[in-house]
């Protein structure tokens, strides 16, 4: 009984952490000023949030005796951990190669970075 309570507490905490990261990612996607900062928020928070929630569910499945399902959830988690940063990198590279200018403060002084050709 104590084991079950502790395990449910662990699952709730991990899922809560995952939900928090998902929420932060959504706020970042909606609020940040340009594409590069939005990828920064979105891919990192999505990877962490999904990994955390899936790990919580894998622990829960392991406890309930569904070992194969738990393994499948782990495979999905590893897939997301590999795929999400790769997709974000490919997107940012495509944006950079097609000449999307990074956002800067309107009041910022022009630095040496502005001379670099995109």
């Amino acid at each position: 009984m104590v084991v079950r309570a502790m395990l449910e507490a662990i699952v709730v905490v991990m899922a809560g952490v995952g939900l928090f990261f998902f929420l932060v990612g959504t706020v970042g996607v909606l609020r940040l000023p340009d594409f590069y900062s939005r990828t920064h928020a979105a891919t990192k928070c999505d990877t962490l949030g999904a990994g955390s929630i899936l790990a919580a569910l894998a622990v829960l499945g392991l406890y309930q005796g569904a070992h194969v399902d738990s393994l499948k959830i782990l495979v999905i988690a590893i897939l997301i951990l590999l795929a999400s940063p790769t997709a974000g990198h490919a997107l940012a590279r495509a944006a950079y190669r097609t000449g999307l200018e990074p956002w800067r403060l309107p009041s910022a002084p022009k630095g040496e970075d502005d001379e670099r050709d995109l």
Binding site: F22, V29, T39, D69, L91
Partner: protein, 91 residues
């Protein structure tokens, strides 16, 4: 425990619907692709949660395929945006 999982799933769906705004509004094409990508990730997690609630492992297979498709779609879209084609070299 199942009520908690339902709550997590509903909150994730609310997050996904908020991201639709960026896919609709996004000033550039890459913004839209990014928004669709993260909506896909959230949907994948919701599918895994549904597999737990309904105690059916079919949803897990669907989730694997969904994740792979999401990845491939994003890569293909960004490659097409960068080079203008889907085959050949990258120059």
């Amino acid at each position: 425990m199942e009520d908690f999982v339902w709550g997590v799933a509903i909150l994730l769906l609310v997050n996904a619907f908020l991201c639709i705004y960026r896919a609709y509004r996004g000033p550039t094409v890459v913004d839209r692709i990014l928004a669709v990508n993260i909506i896909g990730t959230k949907t994948l997690v919701v599918l895994v949660l549904l597999a737990f609630v309904f105690r059916s492992s079919f949803y897990l297979d669907v989730a694997v395929v969904y994740g792979l498709l999401n990845f491939v779609v994003t890569l293909a879209a960004s490659r097409f945006l960068e080079t203008g084609r889907l085959k050949g070299d990258w120059d």
